[in-house]
Amino acid sequence: MSLEELCGLKAFLKTTNWSNSMRQISEHDFQEITSNFNNPYRLMAPVPGTPDLTNASLKIDHGTTALGFVYQGGIVLCADSRSSSGINVTTQTMDKIVPVSSQIVGTLAGGSADCTYWYRVLARESRLHELRYKRPMSVDAAAKMICHVSEMHRGTGLNMGMLLAGYSPKGPSLVYVDSDGVNISGKRFSVGSGASNALGILDPMYRFDLTDEEAFDLALQSLCQATLCDASTGGMVVLHHVGPAAHRIVRKVDCMELHKKYSLDARNFS
């Protein structure tokens, strides 16, 4: 009965005899018990003052590598597609780079349920922002929203790490936000369990004035290294480019292909 729980009906059903209750439910009651539908921020929000930590230690599937950097031609985001739960690989085809709006793209790491859900909320809010304020939501504002969500759900085991990338008239921006409420903007980030591996390649080879092809190559190479060294990173490697006008998927490569290409390069097998 997950839907009941999601929309808040479950608590109500526990205390009410359903057959009688339909007659007694007023419009107001109905709105109250389904309020999660209208206001996603209420979802699972802790009751003020008495945080429920019984589930806080639940094992959440995580383990991924995502990286992003700003260079002269825009922003590159790159992520793998493996989703794992404990020691099991759940899927090899998960989209971890998600478009939020026509301006913003993000990567997800951490609990994939949390991430997917809040990305959908973010997408909704950014569209509403466009309609309300007649201009696209900035990356900063999107990041701030996730920060507020993190703060609201402190201590409930929310687990996310996001890279948000986008363009504004002022130029490219890349922001890292996570469920601790951290919100930092920068030129070069990597998140997830394979982050340290990816950074080992990315840091020494990164320059701002990379050409498009060099930048794509660097991102793939860094991620390839992460798939080699990190057990929970793998599957398809997706490469996204965010330009001033639009964002697009540049490449989707099986990491096996990358292994063949780059390990030959690196170790001179031939």
């Binding site: 003052g49 945080p51 993190s150 402190r154 601790d180 409420g181 951290v182 982050a195």
Partner: protein
């Protein structure tokens, strides 16, 4: 790990803060400014658990801005420090997950300062247990442990801005020599009767030149 330093002079206050932002073992950012300008003559530098400090600092500075907008004049330095302390104390004693679980353990060491025409310079030291104290020199974080002796040796009531900057250099040389963590770059800001100014950051490079000359 993060370190904040502050020195009060007769007509100015100078702050220094390292620029490293780390998540677990990874340095995420090397140019994070931790000295925030809250109004024309008020600086707040904060350190602690990164999400909370940022959230809290912004909350405080937006409220100080609101106060000015509503009343037409700034919050006095002591009032600003008190406002900050009160908020911290309230969070400390509340059971909201935000501060109850995280902040009261290790978050929000802060130095808080401003120059005011009537009150003169004020350097308020506020820690995570919501102690607030007006001090002549102060520091937060592991790095500050090496600095108290340097402050004691070189600080005097009529200290000039150049001398204060020099004390920071001495402190940072010591931090980089003795602290196990690498804090390579420090931002320095000063507030005096002309408002807020950012001074030349003190980095490993600038210290090499400094050591060579002395």
């Amino acid at each position: 790990m993060e370190t904040l330093l502050g020195i009060k002079g007769p007509d100015f206050v100078m702050l220094a803060a390292d620029t490293t932002h780390a998540r677990s073992i990874i340095v995420m950012k090397e140019d994070q400014n931790k000295i925030h300008k809250a109004s024309d003559n008020l600086l707040i530098s904060t350190t602690g658990e990164s999400g909370d400090t940022e959230q809290f600092t912004e909350f405080i500075s937006k409220n100080i801005a609101l106060y000015k907008m509503r009343n037409g004049y700034d919050l006095s330095p002591r009032a600003a420090a008190h406002f900050t302390r009160k908020n911290l104390a309230d969070y400390l004693r509340s059971r909201t997950p935000y501060q109850g679980l995280h902040v009261c353990r290790w978050v929000c060491f802060r130095i808080h300062q401003r120059y005011d025409e009537t009150d003169g310079a004020e350097l308020a030291f506020i820690d995570y247990l919501a102690n607030a104290k007006s001090l002549n020199h102060a520091g937060h974080g592991y790095g500050a442990m090496f600095c108290s002796s340097i402050y004691d040796r070189y600080w005097h009531p009529n200290i000039t801005q150049d001398e204060a900057y020099d004390i920071f250099k001495k402190c940072i040389v010591e931090i980089q020599k003795r602290l196990v963590v690498n804090l390579k770059n420090f931002n320095v800001s000063v507030v005096d009767k002309n408002g807020v100014r950012n001074l030349e950051p003190i980095s490993a490079q600038s210290l090499t030149d400094y050591n060579a000359s002395s």
